[in-house]
């Protein structure tokens, strides 16, 4: 029986090694300040910060969120303080922790993606970039880049040449064939694939007959989308040989383990943070317990271990 302290949980993403596979999902953890009183960041595999663009962005008008069955729609619209302010005002705070800092980046043009990547590569304390080509809530960029394999290839390749940091490409689930997109990203040099971002959705107020979001549509997240995310992780895991980071509705340790069995080397926790600021810690603890109870000494042995044959009953 393996002992908790002997379990190997490190995850390699390009040249970066994470101490464990648990991190928050971009946009649900701010720039890390608010949750520092709740979560011991030293215990996290990494922190992923809110998406950054070259210039500050105001985002969409309110209302920006609405609850749905086992999920929520958001249309934040990439509000952020811009990459310079991030480096100046937020990064110093994050540097004090042992966990890796992953900067989620966003641009309206390929050039903007590259520029943001460049700027962040020069900053001390950023350990990897997560390229968000999947935001459904902006008019330009975002999901437009994430649905066409050729575009994915271009953005990934150019960002890759703008930085020496590991590059994680975050994909949109709003596509017919997620594997084609993932393979494009890999071919262009991506060090890992994050999936999924939100699914585009809508919600209507039947009295005013308006959308419940000022932006009309929004991105669906939370437990509702978990089955879709899990399927995409499995599909992509079978087609690429770079690590897959599983995201989508993960709320409990069991959810996270499901993603790992389906092929995720690491997991991100998004919406669950909004309900429980300690969600990342709870998931991490539970994964470790699972590994111990199931006598799995190395997390890697769990990743992609789905059995296709069903045991005889």
């Amino acid at each position: 029986m393996v002992h908790l302290r002997d379990i190997k949980t490190d995850v390699k993403i390009g040249s970066l090694t994470l101490r464990n596979p648990v991190m928050p999902a971009s946009g649900t953890f701010g720039y890390g300040e608010e949750f520092a009183e709740y979560v011991d960041y030293n215990l996290l595999g990494a922190i992923v910060v809110k998406g950054l663009s070259l210039e500050p962005r105001a985002g969409n008008p309110p209302p920006r969120i609405i609850e749905t069955a086992s999920g929520m729609l958001n249309a934040i619209g990439m509000e952020n303080i811009g990459v310079q302010a991030f480096i100046k005002d937020k990064l110093p705070f994050l540097r004090q922790f042992r966990c890796a800092v992953i900067a989620n980046i966003y641009g309206e043009t390929v050039e903007e993606y590259c520029k943001v990547a460049e700027v962040l590569s020069g900053a001390e304390g950023v350990h990897a970039l997560e390229v968000n080509i999947s935001c459904p809530n902006v008019e330009k960029g975002g999901v437009a880049f994430g649905t066409d394999p050729a575009m994915v290839h271009e953005v990934t390749g150019k960002v890759k040449s703008s930085t020496n940091l590991p590059v994680i490409v975050k994909l949109s689930p709003n596509v017919t064939d997620i594997t084609g997109i993932a393979v494009s990203a890999q071919d262009a040099g991506a060090d890992a694939i994050s999936l999924i971002n939100t699914m585009t959705g809508m919600s209507v107020d039947i009295i005013s007959r308006t959308s419940n979001l000022a932006n009309l549509t929004g991105g669906l997240s939370g437990p509702a989308i978990k089955p879709i995310a899990l399927r995409m992780v499995w599909e992509v895991y079978n087609k690429v040989n770079i690590p897959v980071i599983g995201i989508g509705g993960i709320t409990t340790p069991e959810d996270a383990v499901e993603f790992m069995i389906a092929g995720a080397s690491a997991v991100q926790i998004g919406t669950a943070n909004l309900i429980n600021p300690l969600a990342t810690m709870d998931v991490l603890e539970g994964i470790l317990t699972y590994l111990e109870v199931q006598d799995i000494a190395d997390l890697r042995d769990l990743v992609g271990s789905l059995k296709l044959e069903r045991p005889e009953e």
Binding site: E37, E67, P223, L274, P277
Partner: protein, 273 residues
């Protein structure tokens, strides 16, 4: 960085319908729950339930800390499925509470006169403000008036507690009790009689009411803080879901988080459309 915050689990010790569709819930909380400042709120969820999915923000209406016993009261109106589910909670039900959260009202020394203006459920945080002043040495003798309005008599809830704390003037949209009209009009009538330099105004209520108040106070050198409402997901500032348009130093529009930079704002800073 001290890791002192977490979601606390509380026990509902009462959840009473005080008027049709309006409930007063008292939750017993662990000692670790900090004493809320006036204007702060909590995020409330039903433990183990996936519906409502997100927590719901509710202002602190009253709060007691006696030895180990910590009790937080909220006053709420049933408007949708979250508050509907809250209304079904019984004695002994377990809830999850995050808080106290948000920026509170600024509390002034005793020289000031206090005006409270409440529309609908805005009475909840206003009552807690009044209670806070009255409970403090300085505030116990301050001049304080509350203007409170609702659609109709039946929606005027929890007046009793307010009436104990300060002089309370009432309006209803349908005239079923008190002044017939909007609470802001009731206040406007009295406004010329105020010593505005010596006065601080606190207000909470529907956006149109606060907007009307802003119009009354335009260009007046009076301190007025208002508490805004916006749909919330996290309540702690990480999701950017709850923003409202605020004027920055140059008067330009800037989104601020109601849960973090608010819910209390200076009325002069709010952009109304």
């Amino acid at each position: 960085m001290p890791l002192n915050k977490r979601i606390l689990t509380g026990d509902v010790i009462s959840n009473r319908e005080v008027a049709e569709g309006h409930f007063l819930m008292a939750v017993k909380l662990p000692f670790a729950f900090e004493t809320p400042l006036p204007g702060q709120f909590i995020m409330l969820r039903i433990k183990g339930k996936s519906e409502p999915f997100l927590g719901r923000p509710l202002s602190v209406y009253a709060f007691q800390r006696r030895r180990e016993k910590v009790i937080c009261e909220v006053l709420y109106r049933v408007v949708g499925k979250g508050t509907q589910q809250f209304s079904l909670l019984k004695f002994g039900s377990t809830v999850e509470v995050l808080g106290p959260l948000g920026r509170s009202f600024t509390i002034f020394p005793s020289e000031k006169d206090v005006i409270l203006i409440a529309g609908g459920m805005g009475i909840a945080p206003m009552t807690y403000v009044a209670g806070h002043y009255r409970g403090s040495k300085a505030g116990s003798k301050m001049k304080m008036i509350c203007y409170t309005g609702a659609r109709s008599m039946d929606d005027l809830v929890a007046l009793e507690r307010m009436e104990v704390l300060c002089k309370t003037k009432v309006s209803t949209d349908d005239g079923s009790r008190g002044y017939h009209g909007m609470v802001t009009d009731l206040f406007k009538n009295d406004f010329p009689t105020l010593n505005i330099k010596k006065t601080v105004i606190y207000a909470c209520g529907p956006r149109p009411m606060l907007k009307a108040l802003a119009a009354i106070l335009e260009d007046q050198p009076v301190i007025c803080e208002v508490s805004l409402e916006e749909r919330m997901a996290c309540g702690v500032g990480v999701c950017l879901g709850c923003v409202t348009a605020i004027k920055d130093d140059r008067g330009n529009k800037q989104y601020k988080r109601v849960c973090k930079e608010g819910p209390v704002f200076n009325i002069k800073d709010i952009m109304w459309d």
